[in-house]
């Protein structure tokens, strides 16, 4: 039932984000279909050009998705026991025969599943929209993009969890999380010394693997980068569990 409670607490944020993200990416893809549909070509050349257009639409869709997905997962990471203390229900939750560690891990698990859902469902919508529009769809490319989004982006969810375990304010916690996310993206994206390793936006957007010539993600999946990003996310989540275990209510 803790899972049910965590779902009830986040479902309105999740469903609103899901509807918003899906609608935005579908509108973008639909618009790009009109703009990028090859004209004046026929036969094999038309299909080659159409395939390239699909690759470009995937890439544009992914870049938009990265930006709004990041905002949504930060919102999903808000809440938890500190927020409950402000709402006055932490004494009810903490009186349950459940360890604080388990309370936080359930919240994390539900948040991670919802974050994955916020990536998967818009990507399914992109594929359906393209399919309906007569564009060839590549599941392997979609999965590549999705894996980059989730493996790199869970850091933002973890950052939100940590912020909400440290800061009580309903608006302060998300504001700080957004601030840190944007600042870190600016620093990592502009400082050349760390840019190749730490620019999450490039990683999530697939820029390191995108071939302009073929409009496709090329090369093997960056397992090392994904592992590093997920490790940082895990570290942030472990820190937030430790913080909650030590807090007084």
């Amino acid at each position: 039932m803790l899972w049910y409670k965590a779902w009830l607490e986040t479902r309105s944020r999740f469903l609103a984000s899901l509807c918003g993200i899906t609608a935005i990416v579908v509108l973008l893809v639909h618009h790009l279909e009109d703009v990028m549909r090859p004209v004046g070509l026929s036969g094999a050349r038309y299909f080659v050009a159409l395939r390239r257009s699909t690759g470009d639409i995937f890439n544009s869709g992914q870049h938009l998705l990265v930006a709004i997905w990041m905002l949504a997962v930060i919102l999903l990471g808000m809440g938890g026991l500190i927020r409950e203390r402000a709402a006055g229900t932490s004494s009810l939750t903490l009186a349950l025969p459940v360890s604080r560690r388990r309370l936080v891990w359930v919240q994390i698990a539900v948040g991670v599943l919802e974050s994955i859902g916020l990536g998967v469902i818009p990507w399914i919508a992109i594929l359906i929209t393209l399919g309906v529009g007569g564009f060839p769809v590549s599941f392997s490319q979609a999965v590549f993009y999705l894996a980059l989004l989730i493996s790199g982006g869970l850091i933002y969810f973890a950052l939100a969890m940590l912020t909400s375990s440290l800061i009580e304010g309903e608006y302060t916690a998300p504001a700080v999380a957004f601030g840190v996310a944007i600042l870190s993206a600016m620093v990592c994206g502009t400082v050349n010394a760390i840019r190749p390793y730490a620019d999450l936006w490039r990683f999530m957007g697939g820029d390191n693997h995108f071939s302009d010539g073929a409009s496709l993600l090329r090369g093997p999946f960056p397992w090392l980068g994904a592992f590093a990003a997920l490790s940082v996310a895990a570290l942030l989540l472990l820190t937030s569990v430790a913080v909650i275990q030590r807090r007084e209510f």
Binding site: M1, Y4, K5, L8, E9, A87, G88, T89, S90, S91, L92, L94, A95, L96, P97, V98, S99, E248, F249
Partner: protein
């Protein structure tokens, strides 16, 4: 056996001591009232017992388990029902969802008690908690605590928000549960309720335990002694063990004693008191006098 025992339990917040070296014992099967002014340290003590707040010093056990034992505290919380002062409930759940949620954590949950109280309290199962009145939320919080069939009930201001019928029902329920062997530890500002049901009373003020006695002992030993003399008396003459407070007003003297009232009377006679009047005092007077003196 004591269900709650504290030894020099202390909690400090920066420079302020919320609870000071508290030595408290709550007996099994008894109804123990914990009374004190706002900010006396009652809620902090309860939160320390339930592991929500860490003590600065001292130790305590609840149902025989040290409160510092985080591993076993989950098991203790399974046997203890706690209703906090603000009667916290998840506003986004319905009454039925809240009951199902609570039920899932307790193997001893009694569906029969839950059904009975749901009916008696007239709680609508499909209503959202955020739309319930304060009294109804209090009733639901009590239902959740009672249906668990706990060994120890810890209630922080349980009657707050209840109407007179609800209060009467609550008091009868607590007495009945105590008769079944459930230990009840409750804080209250309603002295009349405490006098009606409590076996034992603890008065806390500024974090210190000032009174820890059974209600019967309190009724038997606490006395107010009004004395009149032909000339202004010296109050210090009556400063003996058990005298909690001495008030002088011209030729009149009022002594408030927790024990040794007979020695005060004897001394008054030795000092040629014109009149001596000994009256029993109720819990309200004991509370007010003790807190004033502190």
């Amino acid at each position: 056996m004591d269900v709650i025992q504290t030894h020099l339990l202390t909690k400090s917040y920066r420079d302020e001591e919320a609870v000071r070296a508290l030595n408290l014992s709550v007996g099994q099967g008894r109804i123990t009232a914990f009374i004190g002014r706002n900010g006396a340290g009652k809620s902090t003590t309860i939160k320390m017992l339930l592991g929500m707040v860490r003590p600065t010093a001292g130790e305590a056990t609840i149902l025989g388990t040290p409160i510092s034992d985080a591993e076993r505290s989950c098991e203790v919380r399974r046997r203890v029902a706690y209703v906090a002062e603000n009667k916290p409930l998840y506003r986004y759940m319905t009454v039925g969802q809240m009951i199902r949620f609570a039920r899932s954590f307790y193997g001893d949950w009694s569906a029969e008690i839950a059904r009975k109280l749901l009916r008696e309290y007239q709680l609508p199962a499909d209503r959202k908690i955020k739309s319930l009145s304060k009294g109804m939320r209090t009733k639901l919080a009590l239902l959740l605590a009672l249906a668990r069939r706990p060994e120890l009930l810890i209630l922080d201001e349980p009657s707050e928000g209840l109407d007179p019928v609800g209060i009467e029902h609550l008091l009868q329920t607590l007495v009945a549960r105590s008769a079944e062997g459930v230990s009840v530890f409750f804080s209250s500002h309603q002295i009349a309720e405490v006098e009606r049901i409590a076996d034992h009373v603890c008065i806390l003020d500024k974090g210190c335990l000032l009174v820890d006695t059974s209600l019967d002992d309190l009724r038997q030993s606490y006395r107010r002694i009004d004395l009149a003399f032909s000339s202004a008396p010296i109050g210090e003459e009556f400063r003996i063990a058990g005298v909690e407070r001495i008030q002088t007003d011209g030729r009149h003297l009022r002594v408030f004693a927790s024990r040794n009232a007979d020695i005060v009377v004897e001394r008054a006679r030795d000092l040629n008191a014109i009149s001596v009047e000994v009256s029993p005092v109720g819990l309200r007077d004991v509370f007010l006098e003790t807190v004033k003196e502190n």
